[in-house]
């Protein structure tokens, strides 16, 4: 990964790096984008301040908010995009709706350790869809494109159907867009450098994307 964007600094955050979207997809889905930051972090148990923040978020988040969630601009934008790419957002939930569901189901935002907790805090606060990869396993810049004939996702049997939307680095698909991660590219116990990725869709302000990435990065540092 290119960058050097993860130097921990107080009071200043570098701008997230912007990935590219295949031109024909950009024409079909104006507003679709991808941005990321890199962070030095060790996966593991979340420190007490992060756990406390999750508890605080749990106390602020009620059933009524979960029901009204899909009417809010950012969660609605992801919901609509899911529809537009053929997914049922009530089955394959958007990240924020999945967290809302888990909050109601479990009674709280449960801690799953880092980096999951950092991502969850940022997702709940901003609604922006985030995910994490092992930065050392990515090669080059990230992009959103459709799969080429014969491409597959590591760890999944068979080839991807042509035209499947994927997140990819400069060599291969690393994840389905809003789906599973390729084997070996996810965050594992030995990961030391993480890439936090935000997928932007039409209706999600750039400021929300940057805030989500900074929030997740700051929580991880």
């Amino acid at each position: 990964m290119s960058g050097g964007a993860a130097e921990p600094q107080i009071g200043w955050e570098p701008a997230p790096e912007q990935g590219w979207v295949a031109p024909h997809l950009a024409a079909e889905f104006p507003g679709l984008g991808i941005a990321w930051v890199e962070v030095d972090a060790r996966p593991g148990r979340s420190p007490e301040p992060v756990r406390r923040r999750l508890r605080g978020l749990s106390d602020r988040f009620y059933g009524a908010q979960a029901i009204r969630l899909r009417e809010q601009p950012v969660p609605w934008a992801y919901r609509v995009f899911f529809r537009q790419i053929g997914l049922d957002p009530d089955r394959t939930r958007t990240p924020i709706e999945q967290l809302a569901f888990d909050r109601l189901h479990d009674g709280a935002f449960k801690s799953h350790g880092l980096p999951a907790d950092a991502l969850n805090v940022a997702i709940v606060e901003t609604g922006v869809a985030l995910r994490a990869f092992d930065a050392d396993r990515l090669e080059g810049r990230l992009c959103i494109r459709d799969s080429a004939p014969g491409e597959s996702l590591a760890g999944r049997p068979g080839e991807l159907a042509q035209g499947t939307l994927v997140l990819a680095d400069e060599r291969r698909p690393v994840a389905l867009l809003f789906g599973g991660t390729a084997e070996g590219h996810g965050v594992e116990a030995h990961s030391r450098r993480l890439t936090i990725v935000a997928v932007q869709v039409k209706g999600v302000p750039q400021m929300a994307v940057e805030e989500a990435l900074w929030m997740a990065a700051a929580t991880l540092r």
């Binding site: 079909e28 029901i67 009417e71 609605w76 053929g86 997914l87 459709d146 159907a161 809003f178």
Partner: protein, 208 residues
């Protein structure tokens, strides 16, 4: 008839059948640009319908079940073609129409129940043992209005009917105390006594 014959000749000359039949690809249809615009318009409509459906689901939550599911078109994320977008748009529109009908029906029922409650309060003796809950009126929270005789059997004989208003939802602390008490009794008796919970009817009904 001559005119018709002439028209047929003109049609055949202008648009030969093989050309009409050989339309297998979008390129052959020569509608690429138009289809992109059509897809964009359908996506816009899907977005608008999704927002309307979300509003209706939220409006009906807790009052009535709104069927809002529209099955996934694709197993994995991919751009949808024109036909798929049209089907998606139509299904969302159907869901919205159904949701509106369901909410209208529910609103009618709630209005009837409000009228029933108004009459019941005005003349409790005409609605003996009828109970109307807040849920029947589409209002949040617990509680109900119940037409009951004053002083029990004596009131029944004398025709002293009145509407009693319940005190609302039980406090969480009191519920916990009841559960603890029930559990304590069950453990003392060594039986699996169920927790005491009085069901609240969802529609007004007459008793007796």
């Amino acid at each position: 008839m001559d005119g018709c014959g002439d028209a047929a000749v003109i049609y055949t000359q202008a648009r030969p059948m093989p050309d009409l039949l050989a339309r297998e690809s979008p390129a052959a249809l020569r509608v690429g640009a138009d289809e992109r615009l059509a897809r964009a318009e359908l996506r816009r409509q899907v977005g608008r319908l999704e927002r309307q459906l979300a509003g209706l689901v939220a409006e009906g939550f807790g009052r009535v079940v709104i069927e809002h599911r529209v099955d996934a078109v694709a197993a994995e994320p991919r751009p949808l073609d024109l036909g798929e977008l049209e089907r998606l748009r139509d299904e969302l529109a159907d869901r919205i129409a159904d949701a509106r009908a369901t909410l209208r029906e529910r609103a009618r029922t709630e209005a009837d129940n409000r009228e029933l409650l108004r009459q019941m309060i005005a003349s409790p003796a005409d609605f003996k043992w009828v109970q109307v809950s807040r849920d029947d009126l589409g209002e949040p929270g617990c509680g109900h209005w119940h037409s009951r005789p004053r002083l029990g059997p004596l009131g029944m004989l004398m025709g002293w009917w009145r509407v009693r208003v319940s005190s609302g939802c039980p406090l969480a602390g009191r519920l916990a105390a009841v559960e603890q008490e029930v559990e304590g009794q069950a453990s003392e008796k060594g039986t699996g006594a169920e927790t005491g919970c009085v069901p609240v009817p969802t529609a007004p009904h007459r008793r007796g």
